[in-house]
């Protein structure tokens, strides 16, 4: 489990070269900045097609969109073969490369328990190509392929529960994080570095362009997502040990998260109630799991 740190313990060193080619208020760029602070320089960064969030002062290699899990596997095996296991094989991928086109290869890498770290900057749609829906897009969200009209209320199906799906591969570590909670994110990346095997961190990374909110509000949106139980922060070890890392006494209403985002602007009272109900029920389940300290997958 990660150990709580204070803001003063966030490393001062910067491994991302700023300014990057990201948009204003880009959550993914912040996810990169924070993650690489904790990862340090002894890293080979692996990329696949995704938003050009940042350039880091580490070697970067890339391959085909669907090859994220495979290239990390190849790197990790080769590092072992040449006696350089001190170097971390890190994938910094988008939600398309994790939830969708890259899912098969990552699932197989998880099943083999490859010695790799996967960090997903989850901005909940294919933002690099202009906000088309992905498996990570939440229910009712408007995207460029889920326009609102007589036959469409936004995305009809909920977001895949990808952290639980990967936890059900019984891998050493799966965590969720948010750019609105930098201490938690850094603590989790720091912990991942201390263990071996398949490690994955899904970082919810608000996208002002796709989610359609004021770029100054990225952190507020990210925080309200966690505080309303839409994106809870937790860790799952070996598919069984469970810990909620952020437990407010009371959840904020989901409207605090939904209202500032134009992608949810069309939602009716009933649709908002649907999201509220789902978030509350999910939160209660997670609280129970946290109390027991374990999940049954």
């Amino acid at each position: 489990m990660s150990e709580r740190i204070t803001r003063a313990q966030i490393p001062i060193s910067e491994l991302t070269i700023t300014p990057g080619s990201a948009c204003q208020g880009c959550g993914a760029a912040l996810a990169a900045r924070l993650s690489f602070k904790a990862l340090g320089p002894n890293v080979i960064r692996h990329g696949i097609p995704c938003c050009p969030d940042s350039v880091t002062q580490t070697p970067r290699v890339g391959t085909v969109f669907e090859g994220g899990g495979a290239q990390l596997t190849g790197t990790a095996r080769a590092l072992k073969a040449i006696g350089r296991e001190d170097v971390l094989a890190v994938g910094f991928y988008g939600d398309g490369g994790t939830y969708d086109i890259g899912f098969q290869g990552l699932s197989a890498a998880a099943e083999r328990n490859e010695n790799i770290i996967v960090i997903t900057k989850d901005n909940e749609a294919y933002m690099n190509t202009g906000n088309q829906r992905s498996g990570a897009t939440p229910k009712y969200a408007r995207t460029s392929t889920n326009p609102i009209g007589p036959r469409s209320r936004g995305k009809p199906r909920p977001k895949k529960n990808i952290p639980f799906i990967f936890a059900a591969h019984y891998v050493p570590y799966v965590g969720t994080a948010s750019v609105g909670f930098p201490e938690d994110l850094i603590a989790k990346v720091t912990y991942m570095k201390t263990i071996k095997g398949f490690r994955m961190l899904i970082v919810q990374s608000p996208c002002p362009v796709g989610w359609r909110f004021d770029p100054a509000k990225t952190i507020e949106i990210a925080r309200s997502s966690v505080q309303s139980g839409i994106w809870p922060l937790y860790e799952i070890l070996d598919g069984k040990t469970f810990k909620l890392n952020y437990k407010p006494k009371e959840l904020k209403p989901v409207t605090e998260y939904l209202s500032p985002q134009a992608r949810f602007r069309h939602m009716t009272e009933d649709e908002i109630a649907d999201i509220q109900e789902t978030a509350t029920a999910n939160w209660e389940n997670l609280l129970k799991a946290d109390e027991m300290g374990r999940l049954t997958l």
Partner: protein
């Protein structure tokens, strides 16, 4: 040096061992399957220090070896027919990244499971070197040479070595196995260029893509690197013969009984072996036809064929693959190679062995008769389906 009676797939696995491959990865598919089993057994027995990654599909196996090669491991993968088609996307990255991956392609057609060359032929645009071999000994030897050529600093291009499924993959024949010490001396350890390790990396490789400048330049560099295979393969064939006592023509082509021939049959893979038997028979009967076995399709032995064209009256091209609506790839490329010659020999196209169809000695005799007749000015249809 030792001998063993082994199937073609065992010869391939033996080459992987002799080359001391560090990371191999493959997904089982008929008729390549037993290579994955031999490699798994070799891994389990700890025969040498290597890692074999059993993956969930061919696309992953290609990306695994691509990344491992980039980081600094000598790599191997293998597949057949549909598996090769599934690898198409990452294969072009392996080629463009100029990573010296070596792959065995155990031919399986994709209209049915029997062998033809349509699988490897369909990967012409991925920027690899493509070779076609005839028997188990040649599989072993060619894979070893493929590492030497692919890793040569002048080349740095991945190489696929194709051999016919079933006929070679599952058929046993005596194979001479070179000594490990001799191979170690002949094939130096692999070093990646450039290194991607954090403490060795060149910072100019941090950015995406090729950087600014002429967007056509990467294609030119890639094309020229693939063409370099010709000289390096010829050199490598010489040094292979010097070290291990065997050779296959000049590496690009292997002429058979061409000394007094007036016409040549051009064939690839196992059916070139059948053609040798037909040539023996025809020459006994006084027919002046020989065989030029085509080993390297990419790069294509343009100069070699131009030289032979000066001495010959006719070429009969046997293509074991076809691009529907376009024709046989070797036939088209050969005719292109001869275009600049003042005196061009007659060329005939034969479609044979597609979908694993048997090609027999008498078929080659018919081919020989046709090209001899055409070379003497007789009327013969240009395209024949055997």
């Amino acid at each position: 040096m030792s001998y063993e009676v082994m199937v073609g797939n065992k010869a391939a696995a033996t080459a992987v061992k002799l080359a001391k491959v560090q990371v191999a990865s493959a997904f089982p598919i008929t008729p390549q399957t037993t290579i994955t089993q031999y490699l798994s057994e070799m891994y389990a027995a700890g025969e040498w220090d290597f890692d074999f990654v059993n993956v969930e599909g061919e696309l992953t196996s290609q990306v695994v070896v691509q990344a491992a090669s980039k980081v600094g491991a000598r790599t191997f993968t293998c597949t057949s027919g549909p598996g090769l088609l599934y690898m198409h996307h990452p294969m072009q990255v392996t080629g463009s990244s100029r990573l010296p991956v070596v792959m065995a392609v155990v031919h399986r057609g994709y209209k049915g499971m029997q062998p033809d060359h349509s699988d490897l032929m369909s990967q012409q645009w991925t920027g690899w070197g493509h070779q076609y071999v005839e028997h188990a000994q040649e599989i072993l030897d060619s894979l070893l040479m493929a590492y030497k050529v692919a890793e040569d600093a002048r080349v740095r291009i991945p190489i696929a070595v194709g051999y016919d499924g079933y006929v070679l993959s599952y058929t046993a024949e005596p194979v001479e196995i070179p000594d490990q010490g001799g191979v170690d001396k002949w094939l130096p350890p692999y070093k990646p260029m450039p290194s991607v390790l954090p403490d060795e990396v060149d910072p100019t490789t941090f950015s995406r893509g090729w950087g600014g400048g002429d967007p056509q330049m990467p294609w030119k560099i890639h094309h020229e690197a693939v063409l370099k295979i010709e000289d390096v393969l010829k050199e490598t064939m010489d040094s292979f013969e010097k070290t291990f006592g065997r050779r296959y023509g000049n590496g690009m082509i292997e002429p058979y009984k061409m000394e007094d021939a007036e016409c040549a049959i051009i064939a690839m893979g196992t059916i070139a072996g059948t053609c040798k038997a037909a040539v023996d028979k025809m020459q006994k009967e006084g027919k002046k036809v020989g065989l030029i076995k085509l080993r390297s399709y990419i790069p294509f032995p343009v100069k070699d064929f131009q030289e032979w064209a000066k001495k010959l009256d006719g070429f009969a091209v046997v293509d074991r693959s076809i691009c529907p609506g376009k024709g046989g790839p070797v036939f088209g490329k050969l005719r292109g190679s001869l275009y600049d010659l003042e005196e061009k020999p007659v060329t005939l196209q034969f479609h044979a062995g597609l979908g694993g169809k048997e090609v027999r000695v008498h078929d080659f005799e018919m081919i020989g008769d046709k090209i001899l007749k055409a070379a003497k000015g007789g009327t013969v249809e240009q395209v024949t389906w055997i």
